[in-house]
Amino acid sequence: MTKKIFRGIFLSSLITMLACLIFIIGVQYRIYDESRRESLERKAYLISLSADEDEIEKYDGAEERVTLIDASGKVLYDNKYDAGKIENHAGREEVREALSAGSGYAVRRSETLGVNTCYYALRLEDGSVLRVADTSLSVSAVILELLVPICGIAVLIFVLGLVLASLMSKKILRPINNINLEEPGETNVYDELAPFVSKIEAQQRKINSQIAELTRSRREFDIIAENMSEGLVLTDLEGHILTHNTSVERFFGVSGDINGKNILNLNRSEVFREIYENIKESRRSDSIITLNGKYYEITANPVFDENGKPCGTVILVVDITEREKREKLRRDFTANVSHELKTPLTSILGISDMLKNGMVDQSDIKGFAEDINKETARLITLVNDIIRLSELVEGKTRDTEKVDLLGAAKDVAERISPVARKQGITLSVEGESAEVTAGESLIFEMIYNLCDNAIKYNKENGSVKITAGVSDGSPFISVKDTGIGIPPEEQEHIFERFYRVDKGRSKESGGTGLGLSIVKHIAVSFGGRITVNSEPGAGTEITVIFPEKRVN
């Protein structure tokens, strides 16, 4: 802009200057021409006063060329030239004019002298013509002579114009340059620019508010994405990662900047290669992959813009390890239940088949009937246990009252002592009274199950010690035996349903594999926790610790 303004000012001043020059020269030319003619006229008049052939010779040394021509055009005298040699002048313009009109004036090139000349001719009384010629400078020569000073002045004006124009243009533009674009309203500018400034100001405000809005929603999105436990990846149509959250980095063990890279950089397994193909085709994909012992469900959904054109893919990665584990547990449970139910049923079926076909001696019938009875009893125990367990899991049996653990332990000991005696096991109950808020029958069942296990998996002539009491304000009950013990690597599994440490032995002892599972559920339902302290071959101590009694 500065340049343009500068050029405008400079050019206009230059043009003005040139126009002035041309105008002045034009005016000057006329004035000069006029005055020269007048002086020639005057001279001619003066000469004419004394113009005869003798007198005229006085003008020999005069500056002007003086010529005397008779009426026929013959040159009588010339002060610059030999009159005899000059041709007839009757045809000369000024002479012709003078002969006819009395005086004549012409500016032309002299054929005799060969220079630009101004002529003035005057008819004398005797009919001859007196001609005065001025060979001094013509107008163009004058101008040519003036050219040097004119050029000097022109250069001076040129330089002056240059400086002034640049100063001027800078001065004009300074306020515009000084506009603070951040706060356009605060600076004073030309009135002509005020609409622009206010428009800019309005737009500035709009842009700022939009940026703030965008940043806010971007941050919102980031916060949500970062706090998701699921992994989130957005990709474009070529599978480049546009954005992702930290869960993804954790899941796939990648670090650093992976935005802009292909999703195969996350994981390159077959599943991901397929997802990559689907992304390119904008197809949906659902898959599950195993990574470092964990299961992830990966859902890739194509995203379409408002015109229905695909513009990328959203990939959601969900850790489903827990779900898979539970699923496995459930499958195992079903398989175990079926198996446990099948075993007694098979032997019952076999026996009943034999009985039906009359293949059994009368004397053996009693034995087989006992077998059927035993197996059926086992089935009922099993089914009862399963029902108990599902009741406990569903939390149906939550009637609570104050129960004394020591009292419950004594009840159990009394009930179970015949079984213990049969195996030669000494049973002892000790400790102090400890009250818990729980269901009495459930506590009884829990201690009973623990004692039952302690007797079942004991050595001959072993002992079972039940201790009740309060430790650090928490009521506890522990059952310690001198039995076969549990290997350390099995200890975490013993509370699982149908889990058995020694598969062969428990069959003969008639356990269902659900006892400890029931114990655990009862303990947990009253807020208790279970610790196992066991050494293979030396014995096991299982302690159930209840939460501290709340003081009402």
């Binding site: 990648v254 292909n262 195969l264 950089n265 390159r268 397994s269 077959e270 290669r273």
Partner: protein, 213 residues
């Protein structure tokens, strides 16, 4: 905006990752078929091998195109030339995986005591292939160096397996044929380890410009 050259380089990178992943799949599947006797996996190995061969030709074409059309210099040139070398190693890994699968067809029913060490060896070879591909994907120099160092372990395991097999033949000559098969598998695994080291070396070269032989 990405220009054509960058796009082609990225495509090369992607194809290499895919080819590496295919190698991992092939070797894992053939080893699994060997150890678990799962014959359905064998088909997968052969399919992967065929795909690896195809990928080798594709990548070769991409590299040639890049070299001719773009005339890359410095690092880009190193990346492309190392890619050309890498794919031949990957192709060999694919071949050896399918060789193992081929032998597995005949050894599947035999009871082997020394499967224990073959298992370790296979695990080590798979780890090397996975890590070498991983080092390429992440341009991870440390991981590449780890792969090179890990080769000793595979070599030691090979010696160990060899001794075990000799002992087995000495004990029972009936095992002879079977043991020779296993020895070949062990040799293939050892070779796969070497190829993984080669890949790691080319990764190192493409990053640093230094190639140690």
């Amino acid at each position: 905006m990405r220009n054509n050259f960058d796009n082609q380089l990225e495509k090369l990178n992607l194809e290499l990752i895919t080819m590496g992943a295919l190698c991992e799949d092939a070797i894992s599947a053939s080893v699994k078929a060997l150890l678990d006797g799962d014959e359905s996996l064998l088909e997968k190995v052969f399919a992967a091998d065929a795909e690896i061969d195809q990928k080798e030709r594709d990548i070769e074409a991409i590299c040639m195109k890049l070299l001719l059309q773009q005339q890359p210099v410095a690092r880009d040139l190193r990346v492309i030339s190392s890619a050309l070398k890498m794919i031949s190693d990957m192709e060999r890994i694919g071949d050896q995986a399918s060789d193992i699968a081929e032998i597995t067809k005949f050894v599947k029913n035999s009871d082997v005591k020394s499967k224990i060490h073959i298992k370790d060896m296979a695990a080590a070879a798979i780890k090397m292939v996975t890590d070498s591909v991983e080092s390429f994907v992440k341009k991870d120099l440390d991981l590449a160096n780890e792969v090179m160092a890990y080769d000793d372990k595979v070599d030691n395991l090979f010696d160990c397996v060899k001794d075990e097999l000799v002992q087995l033949i000495v004990n029972d000559r009936a095992n002879g044929e079977f043991c020779i098969d296993l020895l070949m598998i062990a040799k293939y695994l050892e070779r796969i380890g070497d190829h993984a080291v080669n890949i790691a070396e080319w990764v190192e070269y493409s990053i640093t410009g230094v190639h140690n032989i």
